[in-house]
Symmetry: C2
Subunit: 341 residues, 2 copies
C-alpha cells in the first residue's frame, strides 16, 4: 500500500508490486546474492512495469558514494577555448568514466572568484573524486585543492604548488629529446626552439629537453630560444625574431602544434622551404592540426585518452582505499614523422 499517487515509484512500490519486502527488492536490484531466482525475477519485472529508477540521492545518502567524478579545467585566460586538446581529454574522460558506471561532471575555473565555489562544491560530497587539469604554474587552485577531503588526481605537472598531489604527466623532456635527436639525424646543426609560456611547467620541461640534448651533442643554444605563448600568432612572431637573430638556422623545435603552424607561416614568408632548408618538429601531434599543415608536421605524439585512463585508475585506487603504486606517473611519448622534418 501507500503507493505514491502521481510521483515516481519508490523501491517500496516495486517491492509491493512484486510481493516481496523492500530488502529483497533492494538485493535483487543490486545483484547481490541470497536472493531466490523467483524473487529476483519478480522484482525485475516489477521494476520494468513500474518504470522504476532508484533515487540516487537516497542511495548516496547511505552509501556515501555519488557515482560522479568531476573534471576540473582551470585555465585563467580562457585559452581552453582554443585548445582542441581539452576537448579530446573531456571526451576520453567521459567515455572512460561512463564505462565504469560513473558520471562526468565538468567544471571550469576561469578566475580566482571561481575557486571558493569550486572548492565548496567538491567538498560538499557531490562527487566521489576529481580529475584536475591546471597547466599554469601560477595557478592557486592546486594548493587549495590539497585541503580537500576528496580524492584528486592531477593531469600534467601542476608546478611546485602541486607537490604531494597524485599526477599523471607526459614525459615532456623525453619528447623534446626525441624531436631534437630526429632533427640531428636529419643532419641539422643549428636548431632553435619556439618555447611555450614560461609559466607552464610542461613548457619548461620541453625547453630543458631541447637544451640538454643540444648541449650533450656539443651544439649551441645561446640565443636560440624565443617564447611563442602556445599560440599560432605567437609562434609566427617568435620565428620571425629567431630568423633575424639566426639567419642560417636549419631546424626548429616548436613546443606545440599551433606554434609550429605559426613557425611554418613565418618560414614561408621568409622564403625558406620546409623541409629542404629548414626542418620543423612540433609537439602534441594534434590530429586536427599536425596532419593538415603544409607540409604535414612531424610532431611529438601523446595520447590524451591514455593519460585520462591512468588518472581514473589512480582515482579508483584512491576511492577503494588502496594506495596507488606511485605518486607521480609519467607516460611515454613518441615521434610521429611526417614531411616537415
Amino acid at each position: 500500500m501507500a503507493t505514491s499517487q502521481s510521483d515516481r515509484p519508490t523501491l517500496e512500490d516495486v517491492a509491493a508490486y512484486a510481493g516481496v519486502s523492500r530488502s529483497t527488492a533492494s538485493r535483487a536490484l543490486n545483484e547481490e546474492s541470497y536472493v531466490s531466482p523467483k524473487a529476483r525475477e519478480a522484482v525485475l519485472a516489477a521494476a520494468r512495469d513500474l518504470g522504476y529508477s532508484p533515487n540516487q540521492a537516497a542511495r548516496s545518502l547511505v552509501t556515501k558514494r555519488t557515482g560522479a567524478v568531476a573534471l576540473v579545467l582551470s585555465e585563467p585566460e580562457s585559452k581552453v577555448l582554443d585548445d582542441p586538446y581539452f576537448l579530446t581529454v573531456m571526451r576520453a574522460a567521459f567515455r572512460e568514466l561512463a564505462n565504469r558506471g560513473s558520471q562526468m561532471l565538468v567544471m571550469f575555473v576561469d578566475t580566482r572568484d571561481d575557486i571558493p565555489r569550486t572548492m565548496k562544491f567538491l567538498d560538499g560530497g557531490h562527487v566521489d573524486g576529481a580529475l584536475v587539469f591546471a597547466p599554469h604554474s601560477g595557478d592557486p587552485l592546486p594548493t587549495a585543492l590539497k585541503l580537500l577531503r576528496v580524492p584528486i588526481v592531477f593531469g600534467g605537472r601542476p608546478g611546485n604548488a602541486g607537490r604531494g598531489l597524485y599526477t599523471v604527466d607526459y614525459d615532456n623532456v623525453a619528447g623534446a629529446r626525441y624531436a631534437v635527436e630526429h632533427l640531428l639525424a636529419r643532419g641539422r646543426r643549428k636548431i632553435v626552439t619556439v618555447s611555450g609560456s614560461p609559466d607552464h611547467p610542461a613548457a619548461a620541461d620541453r625547453l630543458s629537453g631541447w637544451q640538454q640534448t643540444l648541449t650533450d651533442n656539443g651544439l649551441p643554444t645561446e640565443g636560440f630560444v624565443e617564447s611563442g605563448d602556445f599560440t599560432q600568432n605567437g609562434g609566427e612572431t617568435a620565428m620571425t625574431r629567431l630568423l633575424e637573430r639566426v639567419p642560417d638556422l636549419d631546424g626548429v623545435f616548436a613546443a606545440s602544434d599551433p606554434m609550429a603552424a605559426g613557425v611554418l607561416q613565418a618560414l614561408r614568408a621568409a622564403g625558406k622551404r620546409v623541409p629542404e632548408d629548414v626542418s620543423v618538429v612540433g609537439f602534441d601531434d594534434n590530429p586536427s592540426i599536425a596532419p593538415t599543415l603544409t607540409p604535414p608536421l612531424t610532431s611529438v605524439h601523446q595520447e590524451p585518452a591514455e593519460q585520462v585512463r591512468e588518472m581514473i585508475l589512480i582515482l579508483l585506487d584512491l576511492l577503494s582505499g588502496e594506495t596507488p603504486a606511485a605518486q607521480r606517473k609519467v607516460l611515454p611519448v613518441s615521434l610521429t614523422v611526417r614531411s616537415s622534418a
Copy 2:
C-alpha cells in the same frame, strides 16, 4: 554529544557547537527569516569553525532538487571534437548555470548504445533538467527524450522528431538572407553556396534562405549548390567543384566558418582574389576562425551565450512550474562585416 568521530561534520554538529537546535541551524544556513541575529551569527561561526559543508544528498532527498543541470551533446560522428562552437556553448552554459547556483553536468551521446544509459541517468533524479544539443535530424535522441519526466530544453532545431519540445534556435533563414543581401549590395550576381550536411535542419534553413533571396531577386540558383559537410576540407572540395561548374561566380555564401576557410583556400588555389574577384560570407562568426582568416571573414553572427541563457531561462520556468511564453524561441542574428565581402 554524538559528534561523529573523524567524519565530516553534520548539521547536528554545527547546531550543538553553536548551542542551538538543528532546525535553527538549518534556517540560519539557508538564510530564512525567523532567526535572531545572535543565533544566525553563532551558527555561521560554528559552520566556519567546523568546516561544515552540507550533505547534498540528504538535502536533495527532501527538497527533490539536485541543483544540477545536464548538458547533453549528441553528435553521432564525433564531430563535436572539431567544432569550437560547442566549447563556447559549454562554457557559456557553465557560467550561466554557475551564476544561478547550479552545477553543469556534461554528457556526450556518441552512439545509439549511449541512449539508454543517458535516459536512465536523466530520469534517475540526478539532475533537475537538461539542455540538449542534437543537431542531426536523424538523431533518435529527441524522440526518446520526450518520454522523460525531466524538463528538457533543446538548442537549435531538433528536426521533426523534436516537435513538442521546447527549443531555442537561431534565425538561420534570416542569417542566410542577410549574407546574400550583403553580397547583392556589393554588386555580386552569381552567388553560389557551400551548404552544410543535408541532414542538419540548420543547414537546410541556411540553404533555403540563400535560395529564397536569390529567387526573390530573379537570380539563378540552379547548380549553384555544393555540400561541404561543415568541415574545412569539405568546403575546399565543394568550392573547387563549384569553380569548375560556374567559372565566373562572384559571390560565395558558406554555411559555416570552417567551410568558408576551405572556400578561401580553394579560391586562392584557383588564382581568384578575395574580395576583388569573389566576395565570401561565412556563418557562425566564430571568434577563433572568422577574424583570423586571410582576408578576415565577413560572417553571420550568432551569440551562443545568448542562446544558452534563453534555454536556461525556459528551463527555470519549467522547473518552477510555470509555462514558458513560447514553445519555440528564435533568436535574431546579425552580419559582422570584415574584408572578405
